[in-house]
């Protein structure tokens, strides 16, 4: 359960990171706290959207889904059920792969690093690792 709690907490932090970048992207926030200016370069590049959807919005929806799933998986009746953990591992695995692709774009195509994007990549990777550990946890017998 501790791992699922960790997934829920990290997902909630991810929601705020993605929301921050999305609000910047749609003009609700005037400037992004970045230091190097790389966030602006990345967020204003053509790679800041994927299939016509803002990447930050994809992240926001993704983290919200993981957060909801993690909260559901914390229900006592699902405590010994591996299915939520496996679903979390699959979804966060997809998210981690997507984050890896975006980080590759930053490093080798855009040549600018957005610290908030890196933070998001670390969060989704941590969620994936926790979910994987939870999914591979030995199954225990249901209490009689």
């Amino acid at each position: 359960m501790t791992r699922r709690m960790g997934v829920a907490l990290l997902s909630l932090i991810g929601i705020f990171v993605a929301a921050y970048l999305y609000l910047y992207k749609i003009g609700k926030i005037g400037s992004v706290m970045c230091g190097t200016g790389g966030c602006e370069t990345v967020q204003l590049s053509r790679w800041s959207s994927f299939l016509g959807v803002d990447v930050a919005l994809i992240g926001l929806v993704g983290y919200a889904g993981l957060f909801a799933l993690a909260l559901v998986s914390l229900q006592p009746r699902l405590a010994h059920d591996h299915r939520p953990a496996r679903l979390l591992a699959v979804l966060s695995g997809i998210g981690a792969l997507f984050a890896a692709y975006l980080t590759w774009l930053e490093l080798f195509v855009i040549h600018a690093i957005c610290r908030w994007c890196v933070a998001s990549a670390v969060i989704i990777t941590a969620i994936f690792v926790l979910s994987l550990l939870d999914a591979r946890r030995p199954r225990r017998a249901e209490p009689g």
Partner: protein, 225 residues
């Protein structure tokens, strides 16, 4: 194994703390003041001293086309991208027309109109008005729905402006009075929408190159006053 009640309580407290801190930071970021260019400022004589608009072409050209435009207006962007290049190459470069752009920001429907007009004025200060003018119209769909201050600042960088001077210019809003002055001039002339063109003392709505050519031909045939 289910978490102990105390553990769940601690977990929910941690969730609540993250939610409150995260939401608070977002609200702070959204509500903190950003660069904005005021409308309806009092126009001082110094605001317009020596300024008649952003012009290209010879002072001695027989016809002057004055556009009252708004960088956030799609029809203005269409004119600038489709028709103006023809006017420049066929009439301005030939010495037949002097083209002048004046700001007519429609604040009610275009929230970034004054910001973009001011950014162009700041570019003009560094001798880069027309590159900025072109970037603003070409990129209009991006900044009109995106983060206008940041995207437009990106155009300033792309136009090789000194960004320190650009930022200082935008924060000072020193051209707000000049923008308001050209807006009031347009209102006084009867301009109500954009783009509107003042040619030979008459106002015309947006139109294609052939219509401009006919008007210019007819005015050029008249004896100079």
């Amino acid at each position: 194994m289910a978490a102990a009640p105390g553990g769940m309580k601690g977990f929910y407290l941690a969730l609540a703390a993250v939610a409150v801190i995260g939401a608070g930071l977002l609200v702070y970021q959204i509500t903190k003041p950003a660069v904005s260019i005021p409308a309806n400022v009092a126009v001082l004589p110094a605001d317009t001293a020596g300024f008649r608009g952003y012009a290209i072409g010879s002072d001695s050209a027989p016809v002057e086309i004055v556009e009252y435009g708004d960088y956030q207006c799609p029809a203005c962007a269409n004119f600038d991208i489709v028709t103006l290049p023809d006017i420049k190459t066929r009439m301005v470069d030939a010495g037949r027309v002097r083209f002048v752009y004046r700001d007519f920001p429609l604040d009610g429907i275009h929230p970034h109109a004054r910001l973009s007009a001011h950014a162009a004025a700041c570019a003009d200060e560094q001798g880069k008005y027309w590159p900025m003018h072109n970037l603003l119209f070409q990129g209009q769909p991006d900044w009109a729905r995106g983060n206008a201050p940041r995207i437009i600042r990106g155009y300033a960088a792309a136009a090789s402006l000194d960004m320190g001077r650009y930022d200082e210019c935008m924060e000072s809003a020193r051209y707000a009075g000049r923008i308001q002055a050209t807006y009031e001039q347009g209102v006084a002339l009867g301009v109500g929408s954009t783009p509107t063109f003042l040619i030979g003392g008459r106002l015309y709505p947006g139109m294609g190159y052939d219509e401009f050519r006919k008007i210019v031909d007819s005015l050029a045939a008249l004896p100079r006053q």
